[in-house]
């Protein structure tokens, strides 16, 4: 069961059972709906941006423990970050999931516990779903504000 313990660390199961940052934001600055066509998992991600900083972030949707825990951890670590730092955070996590870099707890917070997912290629998409949604969300926000003003 060593492999399973490695994948499903206690922290992951804790975030799965007690989701942080769950729900939607009314009047969000940007929203994205992503889904994983392989399994049908869905993720709604909303961010509230003030002065180029994420003041609120919420994730909603349905999915497996990995995708739900990853979304929960994301909302914790991304809240309060400026947009550029948030993009760096997503990029670090993406590289960790692809096995290219070692997870850095100072950057990832609780999401460091997801490092073991990199060994399960099928599950990497689950972990990345909400994180890549944040990248889309920021891109969408920048596009809208650029054209809007």
């Amino acid at each position: 069961m060593g492999g399973l313990d490695d994948l499903y660390q206690q922290l992951i199961l804790d975030h799965y059972r007690n989701r942080r940052g769950r729900g939607r934001i009314e009047g969000a600055s940007a929203s994205v709906h992503e889904h994983n066509p392989v399994c049908g998992d869905e993720c709604y991600l909303d961010i509230l941006v003030e002065d180029d900083r994420i003041t609120d972030i919420r994730a909603d949707g349905d999915g497996c423990s990995i995708s739900q825990a990853a979304a929960s951890m994301l909302t914790e670590v991304a809240r309060g970050k400026d947009l550029e730092s948030a993009l760096d955070l997503v990029e670090h996590f993406r590289l960790v999931m692809h096995g290219d870099v070692v997870p850095d707890e100072d950057i990832l917070g609780d999401a460091v516990a997801l490092g073991g997912v990199a060994k399960y290629p099928v599950r990497v998409k689950c972990a990345l779903l909400s994180w890549l949604a944040l990248r889309e969300c920021i891109a969408g926000y920048r596009e809208a504000t650029a054209t809007g003003g």
Binding site: R17, G40, D41
Partner: protein, 416 residues
């Protein structure tokens, strides 16, 4: 099938003929393969037949005059004979395709694009695999025809009254799955074909989940077209079958053009080869046809009735095992006479992906996801399910392993 129908199938002896099922895997006592609805394992004799073809007589078919080429052609066409015999269908109506999906696309393009008009209707069911939905949607987009979905009863059977009401003058094609890969439901395809013919519609039966598991008599079903795939019936990937009424094929234009399918080619145009070759453009999957032929002989010798009887017993064991786990909900019919041994289920508080991952750690292979039946998933109001599916090599030990692993899974994830 003679006396073979009266003796039970010895799944343990059959299992020993499948090398992969006895190969040890790390962290497990052997593999409990419960994903045969996705693809079946292959017996040694199928692997040997394909290997022998490449080692002894590899040559292109229907071309060379040398002995090796004649032998290759003979083994290839013998594969067609074996497959045609298994489903009681004339050999000239038995076309090799890449898979069942391509067989359905062949009809959608060669018949649908030419024959469908605006206002025409293609009737499919809510439990179709995407392979028997998406090709019709594409062709409807080109022709202006409409694709309509027949609903299901709450228990997961086809709503035959609704089907009857939906059939009419506009119906040109009724495309229906014989056995649902997600729900396990067995549809009364003979009756449906007859109802469709009464209103002048053609029929496409997706027999992908029936041909491997039970007697299928294509002549008795009487469908204009019937499709199935090789890799779910102990054969290789890369080959499927379209069993079509020869008269229909004579009237149809080709699907793909190229070598093999022509009678003559001039700078002005071409004429077509006889059926079935008219629909087999290019060098066909030769080794795969040899392997599929051997698989058809293997299934025929064991006897489809005995396979079905075995799977009914296993399906009952599976339902009992699942009922024993608190929080498990089984989808589809409960009556094993009306279902195959492919059983979808959910477990309260545990996502199907996590079920699949945990069961894998116990050496139990199940599928998790939407099973390429997204309209059905939406209809049922579930995002995904776990699915355990059995075959002729599935034993009661596999079902016990499933049961124990699911109990462990509940505890691990702290399910309610």
């Amino acid at each position: 099938m003679g006396d073979s129908t009266h003796t039970a199938l010895d799944a343990r002896a059959i299992r020993a003929e499948f090398p992969i099922l006895s190969s040890p895997r790390p962290g497990a006592d052997g593999v409990h393969y419960l994903d045969s609805a996705a693809t079946s394992q292959k017996p040694e004799r199928v692997l040997d037949a394909m290997d022998a073809y490449y080692r002894e007589t590899n040559a292109n078919v229907h071309r060379g005059v040398y002995e090796m080429a004649a032998e290759a052609t003979q083994r290839f066409e013998a594969g067609r004979d074996a497959v045609a015999r298994l489903v009681n269908h004339p050999r000239e109506g038995t076309i090799f395709t890449k898979n069942a999906t391509e067989a359905i696309n062949l009809v959608a393009w060669a018949w649908g694009v030419r024959e469908l008009r605006e206002g025409d209707e293609v009737l499919v069911t809510m439990m179709e695999h995407h392979s028997n939905t998406v090709p019709w949607q594409i062709v409807a987009g080109i022709t202006g025809a409409t694709v309509r979905f027949c609903p299901l009863t709450p228990e997961g059977d086809l709503d035959m009254d609704a089907l009857r009401a939906m059939l009419g003058d506009r119906t040109r094609m009724v495309a229906v799955v014989h056995v649902s890969n997600t729900l396990g439901t067995i549809n009364p395809v003979e009756e449906i074909v007859s109802m469709a013919h009464d209103v002048g519609a053609l029929t496409m039966v997706d027999a992908t989940q029936s041909v491997p598991h039970m007697p299928v008599d294509a002549t008795a079903i009487g469908s204009d077209f019937l499709a199935f795939t090789g890799h779910k019936m102990c054969g290789p990937t890369g080959i499927g079958v379209l069993a079509a009424q020869p008269g229909r094929l004579e009237d149809m234009e080709p699907f793909l053009g190229g070598g093999e399918m022509i009678s003559d080619v001039t700078t002005e145009g071409s004429t077509w080869n006889d059926i079935p070759w008219k629909f087999e453009a290019g060098t066909p999957p030769i080794a795969e046809a040899v392997g599929l032929g051997e698989a058809a002989r293997f299934l025929g010798e064991i006897g489809p009735e005995r396979i079905r009887s075995h799977e009914m017993a296993i399906a009952q064991q599976m339902l009992d095992a699942l009922d024993d786990i608190p929080g498990v909900t089984v989808l589809g019919p409960r009556d094993i006479a009306r279902r195959g041994a492919s059983v979808s289920f959910t477990l309260d508080g545990v996502h199907p992906h996590d079920i699949g991952q945990f069961l894998d750690s116990r050496g139990v292979c199940v599928r998790a996801g939407h099973h390429c039946t997204k309209p059905l998933m939406r209809h049922l109001g579930v995002q995904s399910t776990a699915r355990a599916s059995a075959y002729l090599y599935t034993t009661d030990e596999d079902i016990t392993a499933l049961h124990d692993a699911l109990a462990g899974c509940r505890a691990w994830f702290g399910a309610p």
